[in-house]
């Protein structure tokens, strides 16, 4: 009875596999199309009667794309922006989340609500005043302008607070009796325990920062300071008719993140689920 209910009939099974297969195909196909177009010759792309399969494979297109724009610099800027922001968000959120979870101090609730305000204010709605503030500080077109506004995460503070609240308070007692300082207890007892949730949060924060386009778009505007996403849109403007070069450029931008996604898929899934806080 039970096994029959849980195991669908063969025809249903085939339907399920068929639908899922189709969905996976739709998800993956654009990436295959990108790779295929990247290595086609211009002639083949423009010839409406040519086959969709690349013939011959012109792998040189990818090198050509790399050489025709400062991708190295854009990667460097993305690394600085992506990693810098993420590490900053993890540190400030761990500190705040921990303090909000375990310390009692006057003004705690107000400060906590202040941090939560960050969740209520979508960044995209304050792009104009943020540029005004950065302009006043003379931080437009600088690394500090890219990084400093992105060093805190309300979501991170909230998640870490919840995590630390769930830990038994006895944990710190032994260390406290040994006379360890509060900061040491935080660093040596609590931070190591939070590694899984830091990994999950860090992963989605990293992807968000790495893929962030709107913020760098309004804060920096020079080839030297552009991050990869900005660079790609500049590239699009210059090579809008060379589809093979455009797809090579997209490939260059996608490949490293694809590797990250494959290696860290569990953390990404966890991070997405965690991020949907109630």
């Amino acid at each position: 009875m039970r096994s029959r209910a849980l195991r669908p009939r063969t025809s249903t099974q085939l339907l399920v596999y068929g639908l899922l297969g189709l969905a996976v195909l739709i998800v993956v196909f654009p990436l295959v199309w990108m790779l295929g177009t990247a290595v086609k010759s211009n002639g083949q792309i423009l010839d409406l009667n040519a086959s969709l399969w690349p013939h011959p494979f012109e792998w040189g297109n990818i090198v050509k794309a790399w050489d025709s724009a400062p991708f190295g610099r854009w990667f460097l800027n993305s690394v600085i922006f992506g990693f810098g922001s993420t590490i900053g968000q993890i540190i400030t959120s761990l500190l705040a989340g921990y303090a909000f979870a375990v310390f009692e101090f006057p003004g705690k609730r107000i400060l906590f609500y202040a941090v939560l305000c960050g969740l209520m204010v979508p960044f995209s709605t304050v792009i104009v005043p943020v540029v005004q503030i950065l302009g006043t500080l003379h931080w437009l077109n600088t690394y500090q302008g890219l990084l400093v506004p992105n060093l805190a995460s309300a979501l991170g503070a909230f998640l870490f607070r919840q995590f630390f609240q769930g830990l038994p308070p006895q944990l710190a007692e032994a260390a406290r009796i040994d006379g360890a300082s509060e900061f040491r207890i935080f660093l040596r007892v609590y931070v190591p325990l939070s590694r899984p949730i830091v990994a999950a949060f860090g992963m989605i924060a990293f992807l968000q920062n790495w893929n962030n386009f709107l913020f760098p778009l309004i804060v920096v505007n020079s080839t030297k300071m552009d991050v990869l996403s900005e660079g790609l849109s500049v590239f699009q403007g210059q090579f809008s008719t060379s589809y093979n070069l455009m797809m090579s450029a997209a490939l260059i931008a996608i490949l490293p993140i694809l590797l990250v996604a494959v290696v860290a898929q569990r953390q990404i899934v966890e991070g997405i689920t965690l991020g949907a806080i109630q």
């Binding site: 009692e104 305000c117 709605t125 609240q165 308070p169 509060e182 699009q236 450029a249 993140i257």
Partner: protein
Amino acid sequence: MPSTSSGRQQGATTGSVPALGGGRRQRRPGWLPHRKLGRPLLLPYLFVAPAVVFTALFSILPLVILFRRSFLAGGIFATHLSWVGLQNYTNTLSQGGGQALKVTAIFTVAFIVLTMGFGLGIALLLDMKLPGVKRLRAPFIIPLAMPSVATALIWATLFAPQIGLINRILSVLGIPQADFTSSPSLAMVMILSFGTWQFFGQNVILYLAALKNLPVEIMEQSSIDGAGAWQRFWHIRLPLLQRNTILILVITTLTGLQTFNQIYVLTNGGPNGATTTALFYVYNQGFVQFNTGQADAMAVILFLISLVITVGQVGILGRRAHREI
């Protein structure tokens, strides 16, 4: 002295405030380890300072500036500003802003229906107890993780006139070729299809997690009672998923409202404003046309819409949580 005051405060907090996280996680009563004397008083403030200062400087302060400037006329870095009342708002609504709000509504509603529909559908399939199905979850996170500017470029070539794949398929089928960037409705189709492809994986993951948390006993009981698959879904699973659905709806709505990259890359708001959403309008007025006042007015409207959605969610879910307890 410090210990008494902080002790009183903690008592008050434990008693009256249901924990913020969904109202379910109550603070344990015995959880008072930090009242001891001799703790450094300053330390908690040092811990929270970075998060508080950065949030204040780059979320709260900008919001205050935004509201103020939405009633003032003057360029982005102007120092001489004059009070114009609601003029920025009326200008915004009459000069394309009204249409931008309409475009935003159409895009967001379609985005919600498509991503939540496909999300729930695929999640239900992935939740079936069939061999190998679990492994098929991974591909759905790919579009989410990729830089959307790069994947939007793929879309641009897929939908390109004549030599793009879509137009090649159309011509094979004998359907006239379509120019997706010069027709208002086709431009919307293009950004919607990309937005759905890019984001629906998130709803797959969220619905799948929700389905995994459903009580197994109820499902088994109902199948023994002879409820069909459709009945089980409609009368048992869907009501049980209501809470998650509201949450997913809110996240999806906020994501839809903040859609920017695909529009920038694929249509640049065109043709003729047909894909200019509220956020794209803010960007365009603020940083292309340099109408700071109008950009700010629209940003305030967008902020208020987001706020109503967030607060509404807290209201609905909070009330429900109380009833459940």
